[in-house]
């Protein structure tokens, strides 16, 4: 077999972060190549480099496709070569028909006038190829996610695909649809189409992959040939293995026997899909002075759990009970949740965390304006004093408290979000992906804040997809998968392998 794609020593840097470091990837013609790694390892970045989302010149290294060095300036260029990428978030227009979506941007038309017959006939043929029995005129929005995924693939086929890249295609699919999709990949392989499958589900890999490349921390750590059989252990070890020294502040056991918050039988239904339960019968507790971790993959339901607890900001048909400090509490609105002593710092600080156009001074007291006002009149001196105090305490790098938060780096924005919640003075603080997208130095500072909070008797819950982070900063870990808590362990007995194994085995049991 000839080599279809060779990426040589790709390095891609973002300000302050090296996202990819000398990564090489080589894909043979006609194979299914699995690309595995943790969230944030650099898989998606690598594929964005390949597809031209990051244009030639913004990275170093060479892309050789079909024997020629390529210099893609945009997705259009890579698509012209037959490299088609299907993202996790589907890019379909719900109100347009299946046929219209398949040919979107690639319309069957003569001089701008659509040829509807060619559109429908062509779509029907492509639908047959992906095994989807739907009429080409059906609006895409009326179809389920599994079918939409197939339509994306049909769209790719309409462009004479030579290399099909699927980014976690089964993450939002049920068992049946997933199996069907994998079957389809094998069928394409028989027809000579090469695919790259990005996933972290090991059972999928063992079913379809010919070769595996494992990526970790922006580097390709191993390349495994599946023809000799593969070892789950080895893949897991390659995915997670890294040293953890000096990345975390020393842990002091500050947990007390007093329970700060107790959640019982928490259930949440998806806000639109009535039949989909996103959080299933979750019960847990966190003690005063304890840092609790919730581990799981993306889509496990961790954010949904936290947001539904925090003033029912997510989901419907929420049932279950919560006690804080031994008392039943009403968390039905955000205000009530805050008053009950709960705080939640979101994973998406730009969309949900900050008023970006406003200054640090205005963002810090937002969750507790009463704390800086006499009655309804704001005491500007007090406001400035509070903002300055937290700016210093959390070392927010900025020109002054009058700097607008939109001009801060990710790490400093996160510190402003933390300041806001520290000022609200909660008993239980939930931090959702507190260090996503921020540099190592700022991470350490945030971990220090977390440990300090615990030492002062607060309960902190850290939701994170980065397992080393949970192992480094928490006292106890719950593992969540597919909406349910599937494991609990003290951090002293936990390891990345153990957490990963808990997740994967809970998925296999079903």
């Amino acid at each position: 077999m000839a080599t279809l794609l060779e990426m040589r020593a790709i390095t891609k840097e973002f300000p302050g972060v090296k996202a990819l470091d000398q990564v090489s990837l080589s894909v043979e013609e006609g194979e299914i190549h699995a690309l595995v790694g943790e969230n944030g390892a650099g898989k998606s970045t690598l594929m964005k480099v390949l597809s031209g989302v990051y244009p030639h010149g913004s990275y170093s290294g060479d892309i050789v496709f079909d024997g020629q060095v390529q210099t893609f300036g945009s997705i259009r260029d890579s698509e012209a070569q037959g490299i088609i990428i299907i993202h996790q978030e589907l890019a379909l227009v719900p109100l347009l028909s299946v046929a219209e979506n398949i040919y979107l941007g690639n319309e069957r038309a003569t001089r701008g006038v659509l040829d509807w017959r060619a559109t429908r006939d062509g779509a029907a043929k492509l639908l047959a190829r992906v095994g989807l029995k739907e009429h080409p005129d059906t609006p895409v929005g009326t179809l389920g996610l599994g079918k939409q995924q197939l339509i994306e693939i049909a769209k790719a086929l309409s462009k004479d695909v030579r290399l099909l890249i699927l980014d976690e295609p089964t993450s939002s699919l049920n068992e049946n649809d997933s199996a069907q999709l994998l079957e389809l990949l094998l069928e394409f392989k028989r027809q000579g189409v090469t695919s790259i499958l990005i996933t972290h589900k090991l059972n999928e890999i063992s079913k379809v992959a010919d070769t595996i490349t494992v990526i970790r921390d922006g580097a390709a750590v191993s390349r495994l040939d599946c023809s000799q059989g593969i070892s789950e252990e080895k893949i897991i070890r390659d995915m997670v293995g890294r040293s953890m020294d000096d990345r975390y502040p020393p842990r002091v056991d500050t947990a007390t026997p007093d329970i700060a918050m107790q959640v019982r039988d928490w259930c949440v239904t998806h806000p639109i899909q009535n039949d989909r339960q996103v959080v299933k019968n979750v019960s847990f507790h966190v003690k005063k002075g304890e840092v609790l971790g919730i581990a799981g993959l993306m889509g496990a339901g961790r954010t949904e759990l936290a947001m539904s607890l925090f003033g029912r900001s997510y989901g419907r048909n929420i049932t279950g009970s919560v006690q804080i400090g031994g008392q039943d509490v009403d968390l039905s609105t955000v205000r009530r949740a805050i008053n009950a002593g709960l705080a939640y710092a979101t994973e998406d600080r730009k969309t949900y965390g900050l008023v970006l156009d406003q200054t640090i001074r205005r963002n810090v007291p937002l969750a507790r304006l009463n704390g800086i006002a006499n009655g309804i009149v704001i005491d500007r001196q007090k406001e400035a004093a509070v903002a300055n105090q937290y700016r210093t305490r959390l070392n927010v790098k900025s020109s002054s408290i009058e700097q607008e938060t939109i001009n801060l780096s990710g790490g400093n924005q996160q510190k402003v979000v933390l300041s806001k919640w520290l000022f609200a003075d909660p008993d239980v603080l939930i931090l959702d992906e507190p260090t996503r997208g921020i540099d190592v130095g700022a991470k350490y500072e945030i971990y220090t804040v977390i440990r300090d909070l615990a030492a002062s008797g607060k309960a902190v819950i850290v939701i994170s997809s980065e397992m080393p982070e949970l192992l480094g900063v928490t006292d106890r870990i719950y593992v969540m998968n597919e909406g349910a808590f599937v494991g609990e362990m003290p951090t002293s007995e936990a390891s990345q392998e153990k957490i990963m194994a808990t997740i994967i085995r809970s998925g296999d049991r079903k």
Partner: protein, 403 residues
């Protein structure tokens, strides 16, 4: 994406107490720009009209003519800062004028009671629209567009297509009365002048106090030259204006109402938790909600408030014309919205000031007045006003990109 992640860490300047004059001016171009623009426009028309613009009669007239626009601009600012728009204000204003006329002229209800009822009805109208916007998330553009049609229709129905008037004298005085001279000045309304001086002094004292307070926490940004120039200018302008008006018949009643509204709403928007929350929901509603701010109730309240102010404007307008006509208020919403945007508010919400909106309204008003004196036809007046609005917003956007 890179914009937000690149600059900050490396650009950590030393604790700047007072920025250099030039960079401060660049950063606050918008706030000063609008003030300069108003001064420039006034100076231009003062010269072009051969001094007619600032004659006591004309200045008084200018304020009376624009009072209802300014009153509504204050409410509109809150609505726009909260991230919405209200297209119905012109029609609501006309409707309330008609309602007042029917109650007072046709049913003989005492004018004070009628006025009070009108304000309540205005509040209810605003609340009804705000209800759909806030709690059902119907886009405000649609809800208030519907409201505009509905109240236009109801005005016609209420007046049966006729003009209704005249109003009793006391009611007219809302709009055309002047505060009496308690000090018994001869040719000059001394009491009015005194009020003018007092207000100007109070504003100056408050500004100095605020600066001193800020000085203690080390967050002064404005160079002293600017502080002195700006406040000196405002001080002198206020005293000069009250002198001019005192020279005519004194301060109009409406002027007092307007001044009070400006003062109260400026305070509410800049110094209270309610104001802070409105800016927060306009800036990022999701983040505000997740900080425990009840964005639905606040949105609802801003619309109710808008309704009350539109009703007040309706009363003033009816009193000024001394009659309620079916056409009253038609198209006023556009002047009001234009004033707010010229005053620096952002379509996206979260940005804008009361004073800016008031200055914006004055810019429109001075241009109307000046161009009318010059005998420029309504056709070209419209064109020029349109271009000024466009220019102001383009200036805003360019300024923001650079900053």
């Amino acid at each position: 994406m890179t914009q937000t992640t690149t600059n900050p860490d490396q650009s950590e300047p030393p604790q700047v107490q007072v920025k250099s004059t030039l960079s401060f001016l660049r950063a606050h171009m918008r706030e000063y720009g609008i003030l300069f623009a108003l001064i420039a426009i006034m100076a231009f028309f003062q010269v072009a009209t051969g001094g007619i613009l600032l004659r006591p009669v004309n200045l008084t007239n200018l304020i009376l003519q624009n009072s209802y626009i300014i009153i509504m601009a204050i409410g509109m600012l809150l609505v726009i800062v909260a991230g919405h728009i209200d297209l119905s204000v012109g029609s609501v204003m006309g409707f309330i004028g008609a309602l007042a006329a029917v109650m007072i002229v046709q049913f003989g209800i005492p004018y004070l009671l009628a006025g009070f009822l009108c304000l309540i009805v205005g509040g209810l109208i605003g609340a009804a629209q705000g209800f759909w916007v806030a709690y059902f998330r119907i886009p405000s553009f649609i809800v208030t567009l519907a409201g505009m049609l509905v109240f236009k229709g109801l005005t016609l129905w209420l007046l049966a297509g006729q003009s209704v008037g005249p109003f009793p004298q006391q009611f007219q005085r809302i709009a055309s009365g002047f505060i009496p001279d308690l000090l018994g000045g001869e040719n000059l309304n001394l009491f009015s002048l005194l009020i003018g001086v007092l207000v100007a002094t109070t504003i100056l004292v408050l500004a100095i106090r605020a600066r001193n307070e800020a000085g203690k926490t080390g967050s002064i940004e404005e160079p002293f030259v600017f502080f002195a120039a700006k406040n000196g200018l405002i001080f002198v302008a206020l005293i000069y204006m009250s002198f001019l008006m005192a020279d005519f018949r004194g301060l109009p009643n409406v002027f007092i109402v307007m001044a009070l509204l400006i003062a109260v709403y400026s305070f509410v928007t800049s110094r209270t938790t309610i104001g802070r929350r409105i800016y927060a929901i306009g800036g990022n509603e999701k983040a505000a909600s997740l900080s425990g701010i009840n964005s639905q109730r606040l949105t609802f309240l801003t619309f109710a408030n808008m309704g009350v102010l539109a009703a007040l404007a309706g009363l003033v307008f009816a009193a000024r014309l001394n009659t309620a006509t079916p056409k009253a208020g038609a198209g006023f919403e556009l002047d009001v919205i234009a004033a707010v945007f010229i005053g620096g508010a952002s379509m996206a919400g979260g940005v804008g000031t009361i004073v800016g909106a008031v200055i914006g309204a004055f810019i429109m008003g001075v241009m109307n007045n000046g161009m009318s004196i010059l005998g420029i036809g309504i056709d070209w007046q419209q064109c020029i006003k349109g271009l000024v609005l466009l220019a102001a917003v383009i200036f805003d956007v360019m300024n923001k990109k650079q900053g």
